[in-house]
Amino acid sequence: MNDRIRQKMDEAAAQALGTPDLWPALERRVARGSRRARWLPATRLGWAALTAIAVVLLGSVAYAAAPLVADIYRINPNWNPAARDESHLVHLTQTIDGCTVTLERVYVDSERILIGISAAAPGEMSLAPTSAVLRTEDGRALPFVDGAGHAEPGAGAYVLAFDATSLAERSGLLALDLSLSIHAVPVGEAPPPMAPPAEALAESAVAVALEPLDATLFGPYRFAVRVPTGSASQ
């Protein structure tokens, strides 16, 4: 039956559309896009200079975002009020295609793991994390529960919460592997949701909105950390 439905839809669309050739118009659009990139440096020295400038600028923005991450721990009333003060400072940084993500803090208790990150990229884009997956040492993905964040043009700070109730009571170091990507959209457009992959969603998770596919996607970023369980320390 599905084949017949598909065939009927296919025939209806074919009759309405005819057989247009998209390639000539697309080829022109691709050529126009290539010309727009001519301001980029043409030499290795030029690229080195541009990279040095970007590192200085992004470093400043990321440094400024770090305290913001700490404040975001206070946003969600469901999170442990002590999470901000008892979280472990990590400060691991990774840059991909000019977008820098810093894993700032990690907080672990018996119910949840809170991950604090900041992101910075050149330009006036709104940044937001997406496809965040947190895995334990044995490769198990912990369900994404919710998140909160604060974004300004070119920078943002976010806290992502994962369900830790399935983790056995343990002491010592907990090895975690975080992967995520960053969406960048023009300021003023609806910010992309913090959308984890479907397999990482908890059953109770809130439905996420459609992702704007014309957004620029940076990443995936991967961070491997070991954090002490039980009493936290800064």
Binding site: L17, P20, T216
Partner: protein, 185 residues
């Protein structure tokens, strides 16, 4: 040139790879876009935008995975975005799609099967909202899995699974026996 060779070329910045993919997938892209937008001009814009979007994101595409499902999901998403920009889907986009498909009567599947003309198929689709059309196109035209539907429509996989199951049950009750047997098979 097969898909993986074309994608490999594209990853190296060679537009010959893009041309090969356009020649191969433009027909399906156009038809997918048309079935969601129900507008020929918009469908052409959407299909072109989808190819350019794929070009921009090709660095993130895993060459070991099939190109067609990834690309056609981009087409469907671009079509929904085009409708939103055109103001035709604004009221629906902030709601979870499948929550808005409560046992349609008669179901869209039945309406399409009973359609004797292409215009009737279009009318059946036009009776739905943009997100509902995207769901029908995703399920029946693109043959997406529940997980892929979940990613496209932005709702949890469990919701997709439950709603699709309900829709099938509803369809079996309404369809003649001989069609219901096809459903079971």
């Amino acid at each position: 040139m097969d898909d993986s060779q074309a994608v490999a070329l594209l990853k190296e910045g060679d537009t010959a790879g893009l041309e090969a993919l356009v020649r191969r997938y433009q027909e399906r892209a156009l038809r997918t876009a048309y079935l969601i937008c129900l507008d020929t001009d918009m469908a052409q814009d959407v299909a072109q935008d989808a190819f350019l979007c794929a070009l921009r994101h090709i660095a993130q595409f895993d060459i070991e995975r099939p190109f067609a499902p990834w690309f056609l999901r981009i087409v469907a998403n671009q079509a929904l975005m085009a409708l939103r920009k055109g103001g035709r889907g604004r009221t629906l986009l902030d709601e979870t799609l499948l929550e808005r498909v409560p046992d349609p009567s008669p179901p869209i599947e039945l309406a399409i099967l009973r359609s004797e003309t292409h215009a009737a198929v279009r009318e059946a689709l036009a009776a739905l909202g943009p997100l509902q059309r995207a769901a029908v196109v995703g399920r029946y035209y693109l043959g997406l899995t529940e997980r892929e539907m979940s990613e496209l429509l932005g709702c949890p996989r469990g919701t997709v699974k439950r709603r699709l199951h309900d829709a099938r049950q509803s369809l079996r009750r309404l369809l003649p026996d001989w069609i219901a047997s096809l459903t079971r098979s």
